[in-house]
C-alpha cells in the first residue's frame, strides 16, 4: 500500500476577484521508504501540495489518502490525531519553542499525545543522541546553531515514530555544509529507519539526495524522475500520464 496517494488533487485560492489555481488535478503515489523531493519554481504549488498531504489545508477538489486514510473524511480532531501519530513535520525556520530545551522540544509530539514526561523525554533523548546532540540536551534553541536546531526539529518529527515525514524547505535557512548534513540525515531517515520522506525544496543539490523528484509547474506535475534509473524513461511515463488526464 502506498503511503501517499492523491486523486485529482486540486486547490484553488480565491483572493478577491481572481482565483489562483495552486494545484491542478495532481495524481501521484509515494511508496514506503521513498525519499521524494518536490521541486519547481516559486508559486508552482509545491508548498500547497505539502500542506494538503499533511492535512493542514483542505483541497478544493480531489482526495488525499495517507496510509489508507482518506483525509477529506476526517474532522479536525481526527486530522490532528493523524498528524500527531502518523506524520512528522520539519519546517524551514525549525519552529522550535524558544522557551523549551532541546529535549522538551523534541518530546513535544509525545507530550501532546499525553505521554508521561519522563518516558517522552527518554525517547527524545534517544533520537537526539542519534543526531549527535547528546551533549546539547538541555540547551535552549537560541544556544544551538541552525543545523543543530534543524536536527532537533528532525528528532521532533521522528519521535512519535510516524511513517511519513513532511519537510518544507528544511535547508532553506542553512549554509551549504549544514544543508548537506540535514539532507544526508533525511536520506538516512528513509534508508536506515524506513520512513517515507516528502521534502519541498528549491535547491537542486538538496533534491539530489532524494530517490525521486517531482517537478511541479503551474500546479501540475510536469516531471517525475526516479533517480536510480539513468534513462529518460520516467519522462515518457509522466507525459503519457499528463496526456491521459487531458492535457
Amino acid at each position: 500500500m502506498s503511503v501517499i496517494s492523491t486523486e485529482n488533487l486540486t486547490k484553488i485560492y480565491n483572493s478577491g476577484t481572481t482565483a489562483v489555481t495552486a494545484l491542478d488535478h495532481v495524481n501521484f503515489q509515494v511508496q514506503p521508504e521513498e525519499f521524494v523531493a518536490v521541486m519547481g519554481p516559486s508559486g508552482c504549488g509545491k508548498s500547497t501540495l505539502l500542506h494538503l498531504i499533511g492535512g493542514l489545508d483542505h483541497p478544493t477538489e480531489g482526495q488525499v489518502h495517507i496510509n489508507g486514510n482518506l483525509l477529506t473524511d476526517l474532522d479536525d480532531d481526527s486530522l490532528t490525531e493523524l498528524r500527531r501519530r502518523q506524520i512528522g513535520f520539519i519546517f524551514q525556520f525549525y519552529n522550535l519553542i524558544p522557551v523549551l530545551s532541546a529535549v522538551e522540544n523534541a518530546a513535544l509530539p509525545l507530550l501532546l499525545d499525553g505521554m508521561k514526561p519522563i518516558e517522552a523525554h527518554d525517547r527524545a533523548i534517544e533520537w537526539l543522541s542519534r543526531f549527535d546532540l547528546a551533549d546539547r540536551l538541555q540547551n535552549r534553541p537560541d544556544q544551538l546553531s541552525g543545523g543543530q536546531q534543524q536536527r532537533v526539529a528532525i528528532a521532533r518529527a521522528l519521535v512519535a515514530e510516524p511513517s511519513l515525514i513532511l519537510a518544507d524547505e528544511p535547508t532553506g535557512n542553512l549554509d551549504t555544509r549544514a544543508s548537506d548534513e540535514i539532507a544526508g540525515l533525511l536520506r538516512q531517515v528513509t534508508k536506515e529507519w524506513g520512513r517515507t520522506v516528502v521534502m519541498v525544496t528549491h535547491d537542486p543539490r538538496i533534491a539530489a539526495y532524494a530517490d525521486r523528484i517531482l517537478f511541479l509547474k503551474d500546479g501540475r506535475i510536469v516531471d517525475d524522475t526516479l533517480l536510480e534509473t539513468k534513462d529518460g524513461s520516467s519522462y515518457d511515463a509522466v507525459t503519457a500520464k499528463l496526456k491521459e488526464i487531458g492535457d
Binding site: 480532531d77 513535520f89 509530539p109 501532546l112 514526561p117
Partner: protein, 851 residues
C-alpha cells in the same frame, strides 16, 4: 494539563518583565479589594466590640430596633416573662463633646471626644452586673449629682475621687461629683460615666424613659434560653430586638458605604487589570502565531492550544492574586496601625488586626483569578483558531482582523448611538447602562479613528520635535496597526474616563450642594452639635434653651431641628422634627417635588411627612402616598406631602415631620440644632455676645455664623476634591502600566525594524524620539477618548444621581479636564521612558537578525 502548565510557565518565565507588568494590575485590584475588605470588617468589629462590651456580661440586652428610648414600664413586662431571673433598665446616652471641651483649646484635640452617660438603678443593676469599686463607693438610690467613672477616664481628664465632672446636658451644663472609681477600662468603646437613672432621665429630658433592658435568665440550658428569649420577644413585640445594641448603627452604615465604594474601586482596578491582561494576551497570541501553528501541525488539538494560553492567564491570575492578597494584608495592617492611635483617642476603639474571613479570601481569589481567566478567554479562543498553516505562512490571518475591525466599528457606532438615546429616557437604570455601552462602543470604534487622530496629534508633535524627522515615522507606526494602537489607547482611555467622570460628579455635587447649603443654612447664626452626621449621639437641649435665645434682644427668630431614630417601611431613617412656622424663615428645604409654602403649611396637619429624595427613591414613595412609621408607640401612618431635603441630611434617608408630631409619637422635645436670625437693625456684636453668654451653659453647641459655616463646608469640599483626585490617580496607575506594557511589546515586535532604522543611519536619539512621540500620540488619543467617555459618563452619572434624588446639577469639570490632560500626557511620557531606552540601546546587528 500538566504539559500545558509547564509550557505556560516557561513562556511566562521567558518574559519576566512583561509577566510582572501585566500581573501588577491584577495585584493592584486584588490589593484594594482584599485590603479594604479586611480593614473595614476589622474596624466594624472594633466598633461592635465597643457596643457589645457594654452588654457582654448579661444574658439579654433588649433595645428598640430604632435604638430609641421607651417607657420604664416595659421593664415590668420583661420581668414578668417566665424564666427571667433579674432585669434592670438603663438609659445610655452617648455625649459627643466639642473638641475643646476639656482643655479649652481648639487647636489641640482632646483625648476624650465622647462619653457614654449610663443612667442606672443602683440596686437593680447589681442583680445583673457586678461593679468592682477600687476607690470610694458605688452609686446609691438617692444620690444626686454623683457619678462613678473609671480610673482611665479619671486619669485622662485629670480628675480624682471627690472632684467635679461637668457635662453638657439638655438642661444645661451639669456638675457631677465623683463618688467612686472603677478599674481602668479594658474593653474598647467610649468611657462610661455612671449616674443614677432618675438623674440621667432628668439631664436628657427623658422622664420615665430607658433605652436598654438587661436581663439574666434562670437557666443555662441552651434550648431553654432560646425559649425564654422568644417569649420575651413575643411579649414585647417586633419593634424590640434582643442582642447587640444598635446605637451608632448610622456610623456602621457609613463604614459600609465606604467599603462599598472601595470595592467599586477595587473591582474597577481588577477590570483594568483584566483589560491589560486581555491586551497582553492578544499580543502574545499574535507574537506566537507561528509557535501555535507549529504545535497544531505537530498534532496539538485546538483544546490543547486553548488550555496553554488559558493556563498562562491562570498562572498570572494566581500569582497576581496571591501577591495582591499578601500586599493587601500588609496594606491593611499598615492602615490599621496608622489609624490605631487616632481611633483609640477619639472613639476609644482599639483597632485589631485585619479581619481575614473565608468569604473575602474566596471573593478575592474568585475576582482576581476569575477576571484574569475571563480576560484570557478570547485570546485563548483566537489562539485555538490559529491554523497549522500559519507555522509555514506567518502572514495568514491578518485580513480577518481588519474585517473584524470593520464590523466592530459599526457595532461600536450603534452602541454609542444607543447610549446617547438612553439619555432621552430619563430612566436612571437605562442611563447607567448607557454609560457602559458608550465606553464599549468607544473601544470598538477606536481603531477606525486612530489614523485621523494620529495624523492630527502627529502634526502637533512634529511642531514640538521639529527637525527630528521621526514623528511621521511614529505616526505611521500607529496608523499601520490601528487596532493595536486602539487597544493601548483604550487602556489609557478607561483610566482617564474614570478620572473625568469622578471630576464631573464632584464638580456637579459641589455646585449642587453649595446651592442647597446656602438655602439650608442661610440663617445668621447656627448652633451646631459636635457631630452633624450621627444625630443620635448628640446631646441637645430642652426647649428652655430656645426660649432663652428668643428672649434675647435683637433675635428675630429661632428655629430648631429635633431628632428621633425611626424606621419607615422597615428602612432605618433619621427623623427630623421642624417647626413649620419658623423653619422656613431661618432655613429651608430644597424641594424636588412640592411647593415650599404649601408644604410647610401642610406639615401642620398631624402625621404629615416630607421625605428626602434619597428616602423617596429607597422606598419608592411618591407625594400622596402613605408610609408606615415605626415609633416607640407602635406603627403610625404618615402622609407624604412633599419631597425635599436639607444640606446636612442630603446623603441620608431623612423624613421631616412637625415638632408636634415628633413630641407626640417619639416623646422628643430635645433640640439638636438651632438656627437663629437677628432683626435687621440689631447691633450684631452686642447680640452675638448675648447669645454667647446663653450658649456657654450649653457647651454641647458651637456657635457659628451662617456664612462661616458655609465657608467651612466649602473648604471641606476642597479637601474632598484633593483626596478624591489622589485616589483616582492611584486608580489610573494601572492604565499607565497598560500603556507601558504595550509600548514595550511594540518595541520588541519591531526590533528588526528599529535595527534597520539604526542601520540606515538613525541616531539613538532619533529612535528614542520616535518611541516617545509614539507614546505621546497614543496618550493623546487615549486622553481624547478618555475625555469624551468621561464627560459622557460623568453626565450620565450626574443625571442618574439627580434622578435618584441627590441635589446635584451637571457642571463642566474644567479643572478635572485639565488634570486629566496633564495626567494623560505625563503618563504617555512616563510609559515611554523604558521602551525608548530599550529601543535606543539595541545592537544593530542583533536587531536585524531578530526573527
Amino acid at each position: 494539563m500538566n504539559f500545558q502548565l509547564t509550557l505556560a510557565l516557561r513562556y511566562l518565565n521567558g518574559r519576566k518583565l512583561r509577566a510582572l507588568l501585566t500581573t501588577l494590575a491584577i495585584v493592584f485590584g486584588v490589593l484594594v479589594v482584599f485590603g479594604m475588605n479586611t480593614i473595614i470588617p476589622a474596624m466594624m468589629r472594633s466598633f461592635q466590640a465597643n457596643v457589645l462590651a457594654a452588654s457582654g456580661q448579661v444574658d439579654a440586652t433588649i433595645t428598640l430596633k430604632t435604638g430609641d428610648v421607651f417607657p420604664v414600664a416595659e421593664l415590668a413586662r420583661v420581668a414578668s416573662v417566665q424564666g427571667v431571673r433579674a432585669t434592670t433598665g438603663l438609659l445610655d446616652r452617648t455625649v459627643n463633646l466639642q473638641p475643646n471641651y476639656f482643655d479649652h483649646d481648639l487647636a489641640a484635640l482632646d483625648s476624650v471626644s465622647a462619653l457614654s452617660v449610663v443612667g442606672l438603678n443602683p440596686n437593680e443593676v447589681r442583680n445583673v452586673h457586678s461593679y468592682n469599686i477600687i476607690a470610694g463607693r458605688f452609686l446609691e438610690e438617692n444620690d444626686t449629682n454623683a457619678a462613678v467613672i473609671s480610673q482611665s477616664l479619671a486619669d485622662s481628664i485629670g480628675l480624682n475621687l471627690g472632684s467635679t465632672l461637668t457635662l453638657p446636658t439638655a438642661i444645661g451644663e451639669q456638675s457631677l461629683k465623683i463618688v467612686g472609681i472603677l478599674p481602668a477600662r479594658a474593653v474598647p468603646g467610649n468611657e462610661e460615666v455612671f449616674v443614677t437613672l432618675s438623674q440621667t432621665q432628668n439631664m436628657f429630658g427623658m422622664p420615665d424613659k430607658i433605652n436598654t433592658i438587661e436581663a439574666n435568665y434562670d437557666s443555662l440550658d441552651e434550648t431553654r434560653r432560646a425559649e425564654i428569649q422568644s417569649s420575651i420577644q413575643s411579649t414585647l413585640g417586633s419593634e424590640y430586638q434582643i442582642g447587640a445594641l444598635t446605637s451608632n448603627s448610622e456610623l456602621l452604615t457609613s463604614l459600609q458605604l465606604g467599603q462599598a465604594m472601595f470595592n467599586v474601586l477595587g473591582v474597577m482596578g481588577l477590570l483594568m487589570g483584566g483589560f491589560i491582561i486581555f491586551n497582553t494576551f492578544r499580543t502574545v497570541v499574535a507574537e506566537r502565531r507561528r509557535d501555535i501553528g507549529m504545535l497544531r501541525a505537530l498534532g496539538a488539538s485546538r483544546k490543547s492550544i486553548f488550555y496553554i494560553i488559558l493556563s498562562e492567564g491562570l498562572m498570572q491570575g494566581i500569582m497576581g492574586t496571591a501577591l495582591g492578597m499578601v500586599v493587601g494584608y500588609g496594606f491593611s495592617v499598615l492602615v490599621l496601625k496608622l489609624m490605631g492611635p487616632a481611633m483609640q483617642k477619639f472613639l476609644n476603639v482599639r483597632m485589631g488586626m485585619p479581619e481575614v474571613s473565608l468569604p473575602i479570601v474566596l471573593v478575592s481569589v474568585g475576582l482576581g483569578v476569575g477576571i484574569t481567566l475571563l480576560a484570557g478567554l478570547i485570546p485563548a479562543m483566537s489562539a485555538s483558531r490559529v491554523t497549522p498553516l500559519e507555522a509555514l505562512r506567518p502572514a495568514v490571518g491578518k485580513l480577518n482582523f481588519r474585517r473584524l475591525a470593520g464590523l466592530g466599528f459599526w457595532m461600536g457606532a450603534a452602541m454609542i448611538a444607543l447610549a446617547v438615546s438612553t439619555l432621552l429616557t430619563r430612566d436612571a437604570g437605562l442611563i447607567g447602562m448607557g454609560g457602559m455601552l458608550f465606553i464599549i462602543g468607544l473601544i470598538l470604534v477606536a481603531p477606525a479613528l486612530v489614523s485621523p487622530i494620529a495624523a492630527l496629534f502627529g502634526g502637533l508633535a512634529s511642531l514640538i520635535f521639529a527637525r527630528q524627522g521621526t514623528v511621521h515615522l511614529a505616526q505611521g507606526n500607529l496608523s499601520r496597526q490601528p487596532a493595536r494602537a486602539a487597544v493601548t489607547a483604550s487602556a489609557t482611555m478607561i483610566g482617564l474616563a474614570i478620572l473625568v467622570t469622578a471630576a464631573s460628579i464632584i464638580t456637579s455635587a459641589s455646585v449642587g450642594f453649595e446651592r442647597v447649603l446656602r438655602k439650608s443654612l442661610g440663617s445668621d447664626y447656627l448652633l451646631i452639635p459636635p457631630s452633624v452626621a450621627v444625630w443620635g449621639t448628640n446631646v441637645g437641649s430642652n426647649p428652655d434653651f430656645a426660649r432663652e435665645l428668643r428672649a434675647l434682644d435683637g433675635v428675630a427668630v429661632v428655629s430648631s431641628l429635633r431628632f428621633a431614630p425611626a424606621q419607615v417601611n422597615d428602612l432605618p431613617i433619621s427623623l427630623m422634627g421642624i417647626d413649620p412656622d419658623t423653619y422656613g424663615q431661618v432655613s429651608g428645604l430644597t424641594f424636588a417635588e412640592g411647593d415650599e409654602v404649601a408644604a410647610y403649611a401642610a406639615l401642620k396637619t398631624p402625621h404629615s411627612i416630607i421625605i428626602s429624595p434619597v428616602l423617596a427613591t429607597s422606598i419608592g414613595a411618591k407625594v400622596g402616598d402613605e408610609v408606615s412609621m415605626l415609633t416607640p408607640n407602635g406603627v403610625k401612618a404618615y402622609n407624604v406631602i412633599a419631597i425635599g431635603g436639607d444640606y446636612l441630611n442630603a446623603k441620608i434617608a431623612t423624613g421631616y415631620v412637625s415638632q408636634a408630631d415628633i413630641a407626640a409619637d417619639f416623646g422628643r422635645t430635645e433640640d439638636v440644632l438651632l438656627q437663629l436670625n437677628l432683626t435687621p437693625t440689631t447691633d450684631r456684636a452686642a447680640a452675638e455676645s448675648a447669645i454667647k453668654a446663653v450658649v456657654s451653659r450649653y457647651p454641647q453647641y458651637r456657635l457659628i455664623s451662617g456664612q462661616g459655616y458655609i465657608d467651612e463646608n466649602m473648604q471641606l469640599f476642597d479637601v474632598a476634591f484633593a483626596a478624591m483626585y489622589a485616589v483616582l490617580i492611584f486608580l489610573a496607575v494601572p492604565s499607565l502600566i497598560a500603556m507601558l506594557n504595550t509600548l514595550v511589546i511594540g518595541v520588541i515586535e519591531r526590533t528588526r525594524e528599529i535595527g534597520m532604522l539604526r542601520a540606515v543611519g538613525a541616531t539613538r536619539k532619533q529612535v528614542r524620539t520616535m518611541i516617545v512621540a509614539e507614546a505621546i500620540i497614543l496618550a493623546a488619543i487615549g486622553t481624547a477618548f478618555g475625555l469624551l467617555a468621561g464627560l459622557f459618563l460623568g453626565y450620565t452619572t450626574v443625571e442618574t444621581l439627580h434622578l435618584s434624588g441627590f441635589p446635584m446639577e451637571y457642571a463642566f469639570p474644567a479643572s478635572g479636564v485639565l488634570v486629566t490632560i496633564a495626567a494623560g500626557l505625563l503618563f504617555g511620557i512616563l510609559a515611554a521612558i523604558i521602551p525608548a531606552r530599550q529601543a535606543a540601546r539595541q545592537d544593530v546587528v542583533q536587531a536585524l537578525h531578530y526573527e
